[in-house]
């Protein structure tokens, strides 16, 4: 991205467009200019990055029912009802059953009409229940709690002695692909935000596992050492 400074007025116009300060004709003219003036487009893109960074403190896991609703609104395709059912269940098994059922009913309606159908699905008003898991196995004990409302978890290990290795916590959803929830401290409880990919995979009934990894965690993004503890997430209500 070029860092050449535009004339002050152009620089400001790019910023005003990115922050939504201008409207109407002024906005339309500025938007048209994006297509023809490369330097202006580059400045606008840079300001859009700055504007997006205003959401520095934003981040919270939506409820699983939101994905069900989005999926049900995608245009009908020729994969057939069974695929729709399977793909929805694969993701959010056990979670928000009522919402899934509603979404599936509407999903079927969408499949029966082959033309482009977008179905609006109201998001179900199910409470967001925190989840807990107790992991047991070859050595010690690990407890994990996860609050979908904040996307944060707490974890604690007892009786784990791994020498110069560390325990790493994973969520393994129905697709069988482990997603790291982070490296644990074997000696002290920890808490923190669950990485996006892992948080999206967390639902009641999903498998959690602890593997033995080098300090700093798995270098590959997948478990490299033996899995010593496993357990399943359970909703608390």
């Amino acid at each position: 991205m070029s860092d050449t400074m535009l004339p002050e007025d152009d620089e400001l116009l790019a910023a005003e467009l990115a922050f939504g300060l201008i409207d109407g004709e002024e906005k339309r003219v500025a938007e048209e200019r994006l297509a023809t003036d490369r330097n202006f487009a580059a400045a606008h893109s840079r300001w859009q990055d700055y504007a997006a960074a205003m959401f520095h403190d934003a981040g919270e896991a939506p409820r699983p029912s939101v994905w069900s609703a989005i999926e049900a609104r995608l245009p009908a395709n020729d994969l057939g009802r069974a695929m729709v059912l399977r793909s929805t269940l694969r993701w959010w098994q056990g979670g928000a059953a009522a919402a899934c059922a509603a979404a599936l009913v509407l999903g079927m309606v969408a499949v029966q009409k082959p033309e482009r159908v977008f179905v609006r699905v109201p998001v179900a008003q199910a409470p967001i229940a925190p989840m807990v898991a107790v992991l047991t196995g070859k050595q010690g004990l690990v407890t994990v709690s996860f609050d979908p409302a904040s996307g944060r978890m707490t974890s604690a290990a007892s009786g784990l002695a791994l020498g110069d290795h560390v325990p790493e916590l994973w969520v393994i959803p129905a697709d069988g692909k482990p997603r790291s929830m982070g490296v644990m401290n074997a000696a002290a409880p920890g808490w923190g935000k669950v990485p996006t990919q892992a948080a999206a995979a967390l639902s009641a009934g999903v498998t959690l596992a602890v593997s033995v990894e080098p300090v700093g965690g798995s270098p590959t993004g997948l478990p490299t050492g033996p899995v010593i503890l496993t357990g399943k997430m359970a909703a608390t209500s």
Partner: protein, 183 residues
């Protein structure tokens, strides 16, 4: 948003979505829904409304993925911008945009980033937060109100009961200061 690799992957997945690839769409949702839901909640604090805005946003992602141009910006910025716009649309559609008067002197203290949230922020985000904090509190507040509530210059002037020219020159001065700090 943590590494160059993530950005490239996200851009690639958007290209796949533009060809109707549902798996790529699911993967984008998995990777970005926590951030984008946070964006919706920042603009629409009522969870139900934020969830509906999030739906609208992802449906837009599905429909408009082909308009994403990796040469012209990052995928994450494109997603955040689109989501912010859907949430602002919904805020406006409610017909009663927050009517709180704009305070020119001071901004609300809870808008300031706290230490914990900054630990998780990317480098860009930390830089912006730092530079915003160097602005006059009232000016920073104006920029935040505009961006998070979808208020234009005339909207801000009306809410601040101040002349349009005053609002414009304050914000423009602040934007130039921001540019200087960030570059």
């Amino acid at each position: 948003m943590n590494s160059e690799d993530d950005r490239t992957t996200l851009a690639l997945m958007l290209t796949q979505v533009s060809t109707g690839d549902r798996n790529a769409f699911e993967e984008i949702y998995r990777r970005t829904s926590v951030k984008l839901f946070g964006v919706c909640l920042r603009i629409l604090p009522v969870r139900q409304e934020a969830e509906e805005a999030l739906q609208e946003a992802y449906i837009s992602v599905w429909q408009r993925a082909s308009s994403f141009d990796a040469a012209r910006g990052s995928a994450m910025t494109w997603l955040i911008t689109l989501t912010r716009n859907r949430a602002i649309d919904r805020l406006r559609a409610k017909g009663k945009i927050v009517t709180a008067p704009v305070e020119l002197a001071e901004e609300l203290p809870d808008d300031a980033p706290d230490a914990t949230s900054l630990i998780e922020a990317s480098q860009d985000e930390r830089r912006l937060a730092h530079c915003m904090s160097t602005l006059d509190g009232g000016d920073a507040g104006l920029i935040r109100r505009a961006f998070f509530e979808g208020l234009t210059y005339p909207d801000l002037a009306a809410r601040a009961s101040a002349p349009l020219g005053t609002i414009k020159s304050r914000i423009r001065r602040a934007l130039l200061k921001l540019r200087e700090c960030l570059s």
